[in-house]
């Protein structure tokens, strides 16, 4: 069987400017942050369309000016309702946006995975999601007088997801309480890059969780990256919770240009090992272990 394990640089090498990138997780939860940070290191990577139930993944990419078009249901840091990098990018008019009801968003993923042009959904009817997205059409039921939104499938070139465990072939496992929509992203996208806290032998996949935790099959994985703490600073239950102290620092820094420049220098203009070393230093300097 194919060993798909790659370094983080190798895995992302195939992502090009102008592509549509789907990002798994939810808000500030189990986001593939190591993969997002690698995208930020790729200075050549711009003009992206990002599809996400957004958190700091969207904030970071927006702050770096990498996003041309953003397709989202919300962008939130959860314990901090708004990501200043996202709100400022919107208020500057930097982003083309498609904002959907969360249920519509999930329906767009499901339609893509099922290779349908659209799926019907009631959500959105009567709301300003319709005029805000003038490409949206409705469909009349062939069985009654009901009318639904014909939610179009998202056309995703590559999906990025972060899971607790994966094997070298890309069988992906989540051990926390919520799978979010990572399997739907994987099935919707042409290719999926899976990062995992730990890459384990296939025979070990059921040692930490029941078979219910096997989220999606290697059929939907094109590359596997081992990325310990790869969701930091978002949560990755049960391996670790959200780094709230660091998230506060992120959000506060994003509100001020000078602080943001310092944040970028300290945490982003370095490789993944350098990032985690800087985070450790950040906590040590505050007297936290």
């Amino acid at each position: 069987m194919t060993d798909k394990q790659l370094s983080i640089e190798e895995a992302l090498a195939s992502i090009e400017s102008g592509m549509t990138v789907g990002i798994g997780g939810w808000g500030s939860r189990r986001k593939p942050m190591a993969l997002v940070r690698e995208m930020l290191r790729r200075d050549d990577l711009t003009d992206l369309t990002v599809v996400a139930l957004g958190g700091p993944d969207v904030g970071l990419l927006a702050a770096a000016g990498r996003i041309r078009r953003l397709i989202y249901g919300f962008v939130s840091l959860d314990s901090i309702p708004l990501d200043p990098n996202f709100t400022q990018a919107r208020e500057r008019g930097d982003l083309e946006v498609e904002e959907y009801d969360e249920g519509m968003f999930v329906t767009g993923l499901r339609a893509a995975g099922a290779r349908l042009d659209f799926l019907p959904i009631r959500a959105g009817m009567g709301s300003d999601v319709m005029p805000a997205n003038p490409h949206l059409k409705t469909v009349r039921s062939p069985y009654s007088d009901e009318e639904y939104v014909a939610m179009p499938a998202f056309d995703i070139d590559v999906a990025l997801v972060h899971v607790n465990r994966a094997d070298e072939q890309g069988n992906a496992q989540y051990l926390g309480p919520d799978p979010y929509f990572d399997d739907l992203f994987a099935m919707a996208a042409k290719r999926t890059i899976v990062s995992a806290e730990k890459v384990v032998p296939t025979s070990d996949l059921l040692t930490e969780g029941s078979f219910h935790t096997l989220l999606f099959s290697r059929m939907y994985a094109s590359a596997v990256v081992e990325a310990p703490n790869g969701a930091h600073f978002t949560s990755c239950a049960p391996d670790y919770g959200r780094d709230e102290t660091f998230q506060k620092h992120y959000a506060a820094s994003a509100k001020d240009p000078d602080s943001w420049a310092e944040f970028e220098t300290t945490f982003l203009q370095t490789d993944e090992a350098g990032y985690h070393a800087a985070v450790a230093q950040f906590h040590a300097s505050r007297g936290e272990l």
Binding site: F74, S76, R122, M125, D145, P177
Partner: protein, 250 residues
């Protein structure tokens, strides 16, 4: 009648009242006061309500810090986000959530302030509100009633109001009430917001002044006070740390 019930406690009881006829549905309550309202209803008038922990689990009873006289909660169901959307579509859910703006037909906005293409203030996005209002009962909670929130027209309709629901043919649309720190509102037959009751101690003129569209207050009754049992449950069982006080305007 004299009472020592606070505005927060009156609002919690008003929130609890939204579940009288709900039956066996998932209570989705955003905010401290709405969450306490759902938990109070669960312990009093609506024992069949389904409560969630706000994450992925359903709980058999409300979280009751330090309580000895109530059933301790246990997990009774698993509902990660994907199942929430499935539940929304079945209609077995009832929401009470906030509003950054709300108009006289109950159109609600939490998405942004200003222009869609380049907002003055980007807020959180429409989240699940369009789907909530298309599928099941939705009530609103406004902790600081003001003319900036109750407006003539909202900037981005997230939660669908009665006028729009009628035009769009949303057969499962149902707006319940709006509970604020000043009053409780419901909707007239023509779908417009009307006063249902004004909280004890609130001047009716204050409600008119704090509402950005015309509102009739004459003859409005007083909002009911929480019973002795309800006050005990709120103060001793559900919220001994007085979290409720943090959310309410003065």
């Amino acid at each position: 009648m004299t009472t020592d019930a606070t505005v927060a406690e009156i609002c919690i009881a008003a929130c609890a009242d939204t579940y009288h006829e709900s039956g066996e549905v998932l209570a989705h309550a955003v905010g401290i006061i709405p969450a306490l309202g759902a938990r109070l209803a669960k312990l009093t008038t609506a024992p069949d309500l389904v409560l969630s922990d706000g994450e992925a689990f359903f709980l058999s009873g409300p979280p009751t810090p330090d309580a000895e006289d109530t059933e301790s909660m246990s997990v009774e169901g698993w509902a990660p986000f994907r199942r929430i959307f499935d539940i929304v579509a079945t209609g077995r859910r009832q929401s009470m959530m906030g509003a950054s703006q709300i108009d006289r037909f109950g159109n609600q906005n939490i998405s942004l302030i200003g222009d869609w293409a380049r907002p003055t203030r980007q807020l959180i996005g429409v989240r699940g509100v369009p789907g909530n209002t298309a599928n099941h009962r939705v009530d609103y909670w406004v902790a600081r009633h003001s003319a900036r929130i109750f407006v003539e027209a909202v900037d981005m309709v997230s939660g669908v109001g009665n006028d729009r629901a009628r035009t769009a043919g949303l057969t499962h649309h149902q707006l319940g009430v709006i509970v604020t720190n000043l009053a409780v509102f419901d909707y007239a037959d023509d779908g417009t917001v009307k006063v249902r009751s004004i909280h004890p101690g609130v001047e009716p003129q204050g409600v008119i002044d704090a509402t950005g569209f015309a509102i009739e207050v004459d003859g409005a009754p007083l909002t009911r006070l929480p019973s002795t049992e309800e006050l005990h449950l709120i103060r001793v069982v559900l919220d001994p740390l007085d979290e409720r006080r943090r959310e309410i305007g003065t």
